[in-house]
Amino acid sequence: MNWSRTFTVARTDLKQLVQAKDFWMPMAFLGSLFFAIVPFFLLITITRIGNVEVVGQISQALDALPDAARAQVRGDTPEAQTGYALAVFLFAPVAVIVPLTISTAVGAATIVGERERGTGEFLAHSPAGVKEIYLGKLIASLVPGYATTLIGFGVYSLIVNLVVGPKVGGWFFPTAQWWLMILWVLPPFLAICLSLVLRLSAKVKSTAAAQQAAGLVSLPLIMIAYSQSTGVLFGAGYVPVIVGALAWAIALFSLHRGVRSVTRQRLLGVAGT
């Protein structure tokens, strides 16, 4: 296993992605919409402008939160409590949906794209091993989604602290659960999703087919990740650790199996593969 070659494959794929503005601009917009634009306007509406009736209704909804979650909510006023609850609990799924969507889109095209462009021939004849190529492609697919999430998470933290922080006695975000979710729970879900998507990308005949199939595969996974993330944020301290550990075990198994899907024959697009 030559890690240098793996990173070369990943770096070259990422370089091509950077060149493809038509691809990354919509993705950047998606990230900024979910991590910055929507949270900013929603939180500023609730905490600054304050339609008393609406805020009152949302604050009543807080009663439906689990006890552990409700105990965390800070703030003396309904606006502050609502802002806090929205910031910590409502936007959690965003942190899951954005990276999975972006990485799925990148991953779906990565191997079948080599074949369609004819560059799979170059890789097939190169000394790079199939495991090196697979892991390179995996990293190249994972980085855009996860990087968007990390950047978005930073921006989101800033917005939340600037808008809601003054109402609840200072900067409070990210909470411990959010750290666990971003650093421990999200990566394995991303890896599971990508291991499936790369397998599809290696097997299907066109990028369009890969995108469609990847959408079907990743959608249930997004739903699972969504529910698990919510549970992580609502649950007790040990829940995210367990959920993350289980997800990592599944991810490692799935990645290991996924290596077999990349063959030189498939890079060439030879019939009967």
Binding site: S4, F122, S126, R264
Partner: protein
């Protein structure tokens, strides 16, 4: 005196073709290799041997299995049956990495990353082939060798077909491979660029490399091939040195004689020194014991008031050889990509007359 004789004797031994064929190291050895893609048989007991330092040309129509053979050599595909040895190693095993590290491949489509610059394409290859610190120097040298250095900073998507081919060739020699595998390297090029690329290929063998060139363009292989293998339906119809194969098909010198009235030429059939005769329309193909009899033949025809328009010694080209092989195998000429007959020589379609002396 004795020393000089010994030196001459040694030189004769070293230069003897027989000695060479026995001792020359084989770089590629495909033995009875077969491969199927679904129900289609791509290779059928293909046997090809490529000696070190030679240019071996795989000739054949589209679908003959040339590209599959190249893929077998690098281990990109594994044979269903038969054995593949390259540099004495099996490329289908973990030794394949070593084999591929010593191969430079130019595929029919240049296999370049259009969104990247020429430099980035070469850099990618340099890193995959572990060139390390020498990478930048080698990139500049290879780009300069193929005259593409001025365009390295441009995105490959904007390159012309010729530039892409040059870049692909530069990439193939970047790691100084022992074996070059070129699959239709002049495909899509204008004649000027194609000639230029062929010259570059010739130069590369001058540097001691072994080349396997796939083509269906016979003129492309003419003068370039040390060894040829004529392929069809994944099978090697014939292989060997072009001169030896020509000798096999045309064991005696041949002459084309054209006259205003074709039938008047038939007198030649009974002349001294003529071993075979066939005529199509106004042109006769005459097999001779020796070219020395040509003046007498011409004089005899002139004496009979035969009005000659051309007397041309026939030197078989690769094209002639190719069609002769295919005719022998009973394959229809219209199955293949027709080569451009620029030689002006008549293509024999049917035996018009065979007159015994």
């Amino acid at each position: 005196m004795l020393g000089a004789q010994l030196r001459i004797l040694l030189q004769l031994c070293v230069c003897s073709p027989i000695t060479q064929s026995v001792t020359r190291e084989l770089i590629v050895d495909l033995a009875a290799v077969s491969q199927w893609f679904g129900d289609v048989q791509a290779l059928a007991d293909l046997t090809i041997q490529v000696p070190k330092g030679s240019i071996t040309v795989l000739l054949g129509p589209n679908g003959a299995g040339k590209t599959t053979a190249i893929r077998m050599i690098t281990g990109a595909l594994s044979p269903a049956t038969g054995s593949v040895r390259v540099f004495g190693l099996d490329p289908g095993t973990p030794d394949g990495e070593q084999v591929r590290s010593n191969c430079g491949v130019v595929s029919a489509k240049p296999s370049l990353y259009d969104r990247l610059s020429g430099w980035d394409n070469l850099r990618y290859a340099a890193e995959l082939y572990d060139l390390g610190r020498n990478a930048d120097t080698r990139i500049r040298e290879a780009a300069s060798q193929f005259g593409i250095d001025a365009a390295l900073d441009l995105q490959v998507g904007g390159y012309s077909t010729g530039m892409k081919t040059r870049l692909a060739l530069a990439r193939s020699v970047l790691h100084d491979p022992e074996l070059l595998l070129l699959d239709e390297p002049t495909s899509g090029l204008d004649p000027e660029s194609a000639v230029s690329v062929l010259e570059l290929i010739r130069d590369m063998t001058g540097q001691g490399r072994t080349v396997v060139l796939c083509t269906h363009l016979l003129l492309e292989a003419e003068g370039l091939a040390d060894e040829i293998a004529v392929m069809q339906h994944g099978f090697n119809l014939l292989s060997g040195k072009p001169d030896e194969l020509a000798q096999r098909y045309w064991p005696t010198p041949q002459l084309h004689i054209t006259a205003v009235e074709g039938p008047e030429l038939d007198h030649v059939a009974n002349s001294v020194g003529v071993v075979s005769y066939e005529r199509e329309s106004n042109t006769a193909t005459v097999g001779l014991q020796s070219l020395d009899v040509v003046p007498d033949l011409v004089a005899a025809l002139v004496a009979r008031n035969v009005r000659l328009t051309a007397v041309v010694p026939f030197i078989p080209t690769l094209e002639d050889l190719y069609f002769a092989v295919r005719r022998e195998q009973g394959t229809a000429a219209d199955e293949i990509t027709p080569p451009s007959n620029t030689t002006g020589r008549p293509v024999r379609r049917s035996r018009v007359a065979e007159l015994a002396r």
